[in-house]
Amino acid sequence: MKNILIGIAIAATTLAACNNGNNKNTDATQKAASKDTSMTTQPSAMHDTTATQTAAAFPAKEIIAGYLQLKNALAKDNGKDAAAAGNTIATTLVKVDMKSLSEAQMKNYMDIAGDLKENAEHIGANADKLEHQREHFIMLSKDMADLIKTFGNGGQTLYKDFCPMANDGKGAIWISEVKEIQNPYLGSKMPDCGSVKETIK
């Protein structure tokens, strides 16, 4: 009996200690392991495509596509689709290969991407809070407009729209692929509030 109890206590202590501690250790092991595979074994098919994509160019088109998907979901008051699109943007950003950027691009990217990703993740995590998603969409749209300034429009004509009623009456911008106004901040309440401020060709 006594032995069993001591055994349990020791087991608990060891378990807890593992749980408590060394994330660093696991991290290092994982890194080492991934390095290992990339050097010794053949890269997987998925690995391969990402490499060619990012080496070829900055994935502006994919990021913009994710953004437009998000914008259209919000215009339709669909928080669930908006969340999915937010997560898509965040995962696309993770795949960006920094080495393919020029120094000037890098500086802008580092400034924009952190904020963009955080806003996108937040929208992804709040599928049931449409208004909260829209609050983050204000900041995300600003990030997106700046990203497009640096990396271009991905070969597609875009429109920078402005709604004076959004953002508690302070106004907010968004980017759209269609000339016609489809307001992502007010949705079905006022779908055509706003105007085109700039055409990005």
């Binding site: 109890l5 206590a9 608990a12 807890a16 909260h132």
Partner: protein
């Protein structure tokens, strides 16, 4: 000794055993130059709300309550503090890019407005974190104004 007693005793021993494994405390000795109060001119009434309602999880200094030394509370708190600081750390606010600072300031105002923060489990134990309407308005107003002033500068 019957079965239930054995199990209870085992649980008790596990409980005692885990008391010896305490996570490191979130207590910084010095105030960083990147501290929120050094980056901005923060009025006292704003600062005191932040201190009482936010800093336990969103700064390098937690004011630990007595039960924080009892496991598994200490682990739960350590996790909350880590997550909190990952999202927003007032002690390190100056290290964020200005874009991110603006985003964070607006985010704070929104979280307060939507009653998402402080989280309810925290408010249950911390009376000071239950903000009055005036306190909420004060924080939202100050955060938005500061965010707007930064936006103009850039």
């Amino acid at each position: 000794m019957n079965r239930t007693k054995k199990i209870l005793l085992a649980l008790l021993i596990v409980f005692i055993a885990i008391q010896f494994i305490q996570p490191a405390h979130n207590k910084a000795v010095q105030v960083l130059p990147t501290d929120f109060a050094k980056v901005f001119v923060v009025p006292n009434n704003v600062q005191s709300v932040l201190q009482n309602a936010c800093y336990d999880c969103h700064s390098n200094n937690t004011n630990y309550p007595w039960y924080s030394n009892i496991q598994p509370m200490a682990w739960i708190m350590a996790r909350h503090i880590k997550n909190g600081k990952d999202k927003l750390n007032f002690s390190d606010f100056g290290s964020y890019t200005s874009r991110r600072q603006i985003s964070k300031l607006k985010g704070i105002a929104n979280q307060i407005k939507d009653d998402e923060m402080p989280i309810s489990s925290y408010k249950m134990m911390h009376k000071n974190a239950r903000l009055s309407k005036e306190q909420k308005d004060l924080i939202m107003d100050w955060m938005s104004r500061t965010a707007d002033s930064l936006s103009v500068n850039n």
